[in-house]
């Protein structure tokens, strides 16, 4: 929101000045990159510890060209999607039950508030015992991790829809279902999207951990096998792919927010 107002202030800075500012912001990362390349090239740092940026680029190109990266990427994306689908559905369902009825809240809220304090990644050993070492524990880990941010945010969102507006609308002769579908749920949408952004972050984190347990494919598997062959360049590629996936997911939610929350003054272009 502050960014929007900043770019529309009348005393907007001219283009060359903004360019210079942008360069200044990039200066330190670029300098580090050059330093990194130089220190590996001059043999100050062993490639066993870390490869040079150019080596990472080469590894990235090789993995892409051989199709290996795409295969693992698809597997990882499949796991995240399946886990997210389950986690978001479960979180949404629980939040609707608890948010829309007092009895539902009594039944679910205390339990879920207790469970959410549990670090879900600590359940890995248990999940291996329960689900073996196939796809299930990996997807279950993502699902469990993503359900809670969705539940907490959507529940709070439903409960904090402007009571005065709901009261006014209740005088207009809507059925309870119409009131929920047209007023309460759209009102809770911003909170849901916030929850979704958290959930996406947790999803990648769960995937990183999940793919390091006996996986035979996926980005995490790529990194683990690279470790055995001391291929630090491939490990760095895996890290970068995780980072890019996280950024893309966040970007997608932002785009959804822009179109879904168009009624908010910050998004209205008039």
């Amino acid at each position: 929101m502050t960014a929007t107002t900043a770019t529309t202030t009348p005393g907007r800075r001219s283009r060359p000045i903004r360019l210079a500012a942008g360069l200044r912001r990039c200066a330190v990362p670029l300098a580090l990159l050059v330093l990194w390349q130089a220190s590996v090239g001059l043999g100050w740092i062993s490639t066993r510890s870390i490869p040079s940026p150019s080596q990472v680029l080469v590894a990235f190109w090789e993995l892409t060209a051989s199709g290996e990266l795409a295969v693992h990427l698809l597997v990882s994306l499949g796991r995240v999607s399946a886990g997210l689908a389950i986690g978001v559905s479960a979180g949404t369902l629980c939040a609707l039950i608890a948010g829309l009825s007092r009895r539902g809240e009594d039944a679910l809220d205390a339990l879920l508030q207790m469970l959410r304090t549990l670090p879900h990644l600590a359940l890995v050993p248990l999940f291996i015992l329960w689900f073996g070492i196939g796809e299930t524990p990996k997807i279950a880990l993502v699902a469990l991790g993503t359900a809670f941010p969705i539940y907490l945010n959507l529940f709070a969102g439903i409960r904090t829809v402007d009571a005065k507006v709901v009261e006014a609308v209740s005088t207009l002769g809507l059925t309870r279902w119409e009131l929920i579908a047209q007023v309460i749920l759209p009102g809770a949408l911003p909170a849901f999207l916030t929850g979704l952004r958290y959930a996406l972050g947790v999803a990648w984190l769960s995937l990183v951990v999940g793919e390091q347990i006996n996986a035979s494919s996926g980005i995490g598997y790529l990194a683990m096998t690279a470790r055995e062959f001391l291929r630090t360049d491939v490990i760095i590629v895996a890290l970068i792919v995780y980072a890019i996936l996280g950024l893309l997911a966040d970007l997608i939610v932002r785009v959804v927010e822009r179109s879904a929350l168009i009624w908010r003054p910050a998004f209205i272009k008039e």
Binding site: K164, V169, T171, Q182, I268
Partner: protein
């Protein structure tokens, strides 16, 4: 032409309230209140803060229960609150037609918006409206329901002085055109005298004074009749005009009754209840 007084119908009242009691734990906010509203009449409801007038309006809007007493209401009711209370994620027109079951709801909504002078904002998002525009949209949302009872809960209180004057004129025009029974809750004696043909003063959860306002329209603040009624209403509200000082209220606020000796007669649980 403008001397034609609003219809004073002989038909049955559109609202009938008998012996209405509402208890908030420490004292009755409504204490055996009875009130009739005639079809097409314009009634102003005045009273100090906490006298129960908002509770009465909320009861008539069916937002509050009526545990004791009888309340007879028409089906077609509409409420305009102090805040516009529009749904922010629906465009203005959708807000107006919300809950409307007619097949031509959209056309009716547009007509209502035209009547309040807001046609050009039909596609706007509510949060982009000015305070006056938003309140006019709320008025259109009430109007489109063709209410036989229009409840106005201090609808002009949050507006600036000029906007308020325009809104008062608009409400009077709409009332003349559609003839709902209007109950206007207000703190403003002048507003009551400008718009209403009856002023009801509440105190202690019941009606303390019921004063007809037989003034010709359009009304002006300086008219002798206006000034006389103004003094009378202010006196009923416990304001001494001569000294412009507020007298010690004769009728204690219903909600502070528990502080009076009589309050101790309540059962222990009730007396210990926190004051609202």
């Amino acid at each position: 032409m403008s001397h034609a007084l609003p219809r004073v119908p002989a038909s049955a009242p559109v609202v009938t309230v008998r012996g209405l009691v509402r208890n908030f734990g420490n004292g009755n906010v409504l204490d055996g209140l009875s009130l009739d509203l005639q079809p097409g009449s314009f009634t102003a409801l005045l009273g100090r803060s906490g006298c129960g007038k908002s509770t009465l309006l909320r009861t008539l809007a069916k937002l509050d229960p009526a545990p004791e007493g009888t309340v007879r209401l028409p089906d077609a009711r509409a409420v305009v609150f102090q805040e516009p209370r529009l749904v922010p994620w629906m465009r203005v027109l959708r807000n107006v037609t919300l809950g409307l079951r007619h097949p031509d709801a959209e056309a009716r909504g547009l007509a209502a918006l035209a009547e309040v002078g807001l046609s050009h904002r039909a596609r706007a998002w509510p949060l982009t409206l000015s305070g006056g525009e938003a309140q006019r949209a709320a008025l259109a949302r009430a109007l489109v329901r063709e209410p036989r009872l229009l409840l106005l809960d201090e609808p002009f209180a949050a507006l600036d002085a000029l906007t308020r004057l325009r809104m008062q004129g608009l409400v009077e025009t709409l009332w003349r055109a559609h003839a709902p029974a209007v109950l206007l809750v207000t703190h403003d004696v002048d507003e009551a005298l400008l718009l209403a043909d009856r002023a009801v003063v509440m105190a202690n959860g019941t009606i303390a004074a019921d004063i007809p306002i037989p003034l010709a329209r359009p009304r002006r603040h300086g008219d002798p009749g206006f000034i006389a009624l103004r003094s009378r209403l202010l006196a009923e509200l416990g304001v001494d005009e001569e000294h412009l000082a507020t007298r010690e209220p004769q009728r204690a606020d219903a909600r502070t009754n528990s502080a009076k000796p009589g309050g101790y007669g309540l059962p222990a649980g009730a007396a210990a209840a926190p004051s609202l």
